[in-house]
Symmetry: C2
Subunit: 229 residues, 2 copies
DNA sequence: CGACCATTTGATATGGATCAAGCGATGTGG
DNA sequence: CCACATCGCTTGATCCATATCAAATGGTCG
């Protein structure tokens, strides 16, 4: 549960099908009709998508690549709030200005939809209004789960992080991490050294295997789950 | 910004007045018409309002007293997610089950509104739909700010916490804390001893004065702000 | 092949946890 | 009204997980 995230609409069961009459362009979380209101844009590695306190003009959906949102604290530390991978939606701000900055972690292709248009649409299309709510709610859930990680030890945080990534990126019992150790460290509130050591612990305890630093093979979910608990 | 929270509707300026035609029973965050759909209930000190994984039946607004939401981790630690004081709304869950438990921190009076009724209303009243979204968004913002605290030192977390409380509870340069040290510790991811020591540091540095353990007088906001930064 | 940068590994330092005592308010019974 | 128990908080002493500092390794790209 802790590492469960949910990007799909449909928390309210009977309402989930509200967009199914429109053939979806993408597999989930936001429907074709809305995507077609937007356009595609590409971002090279480590480029800014938007900055903190910039006006929030767009809602973004990841087509390919990956994105981090973060904030630089006055003490110089960077806290990463979330990672977004293909299918995820981000940038749906609640005020007119972004609370966080966003950067492409790797060469990324995004769909951008004008926030103003969406809000206007939501004011007479109830399904759109519900979608905006649902997306915000999913983000809230994800952020709450993130908070819980901070009550745990370094090894537990890393295990929890891996399970979160596995849920979103697993293919053939392996995850190709889109982010560097520094990003993982800044997401978990640890140093890169500690992240590295924790990964080594997990490998030594036969929970995972690390053929290369970006590839994590899952050997023993139960062990990871026990740790992340 | 870090400790800024916002319970009032109206992120979108021109939309904020959508409920003003109904005379509000309470001062802010959710309008009289909706409150009248609900009823009042009282909870003694330290009693459960709802438990994790219970069906989410109601939305709650604090009339008097105070509430904490939290989760008990498998390692036995309790992570407090948020505190709610008079005027605050909580319990607006995204799925059909609560993600967190809620308890009254002190003798509390709450207004309860049936979640199902609200969602039904939202499906044809656009202003209600926007309100639900706005409330969820405010909660997201609050949770994001909470996450940032974990990137800081103990003294900084405590200073940040005090500023957050000041924003919501300040009268005459003094805050009457509704919660015990243990609650503060579990909110900040520290021990009660460390919270106590940090408060002493802040008092020694003349930023605050602590006439009794529940009363905090603010002497030097700049110093607190500098710390919490 | 060689330079560069990310990652891992090693040695040491430290902030906050833990363990343990003291203190101060509140309440109870004599 | 005062001993005395209780409970929450503060203060003190020590320990430990993780940070920090430093070096070695390895993968990538010219």
């Amino acid at each position: 549960m802790l590492v469960k995230t949910e990007t799909q609409p449909g928390y309210f069961g009977h309402q989930a099908a509200s967009h199914q009459d429109v053939p979806p362009v993408c597999d989930f979380a936001f429907p074709g009709a809305i995507e077609r209101m937007g356009f595609t844009n590409s971002y090279p590695l480590d480029t800014e998508i938007y900055g903190e306190e910039e006006p929030a003009q767009y809602l973004y959906k990841v087509v390919s690549g990956a994105v981090r949102t973060y904030k630089i604290l006055e003490n110089g530390r960077r806290q990463i709030a979330a990672f977004y991978v293909p299918g995820d939606v981000f940038g749906l701000e609640t005020r007119d200005e972004h609370a966080l900055s966003a950067e492409a972690i790797s060469q990324s292709k995004l769909i951008l939809v004008k926030r103003r248009d969406l809000i206007a649409l939501a004011s007479h299309d109830n399904a759109v209004a519900r979608l905006l709510w649902t997306l915000t709610a999913a983000e809230l859930r994800r952020t709450q789960d993130h908070t819980l990680l901070f009550a745990m030890s370094a090894d537990q945080r890393v295990a929890g992080f891996l399970l979160e990534m596995a849920e979103r990126l697993l293919t053939d019992d392996e995850v190709k991490l889109p982010m560097a150790r520094r990003d993982i460290a800044d997401y978990l509130g640890l140093t890169i050294e500690t992240v590295s050591r924790s990964l080594t612990h997990l490998e030594n305890s036969a929970a995972i295997k690390i053929p290369t630093s970006r590839r994590i093979q899952f050997r023993d979910y139960a062990a990871l789950g026990r740790l992340s608990a």
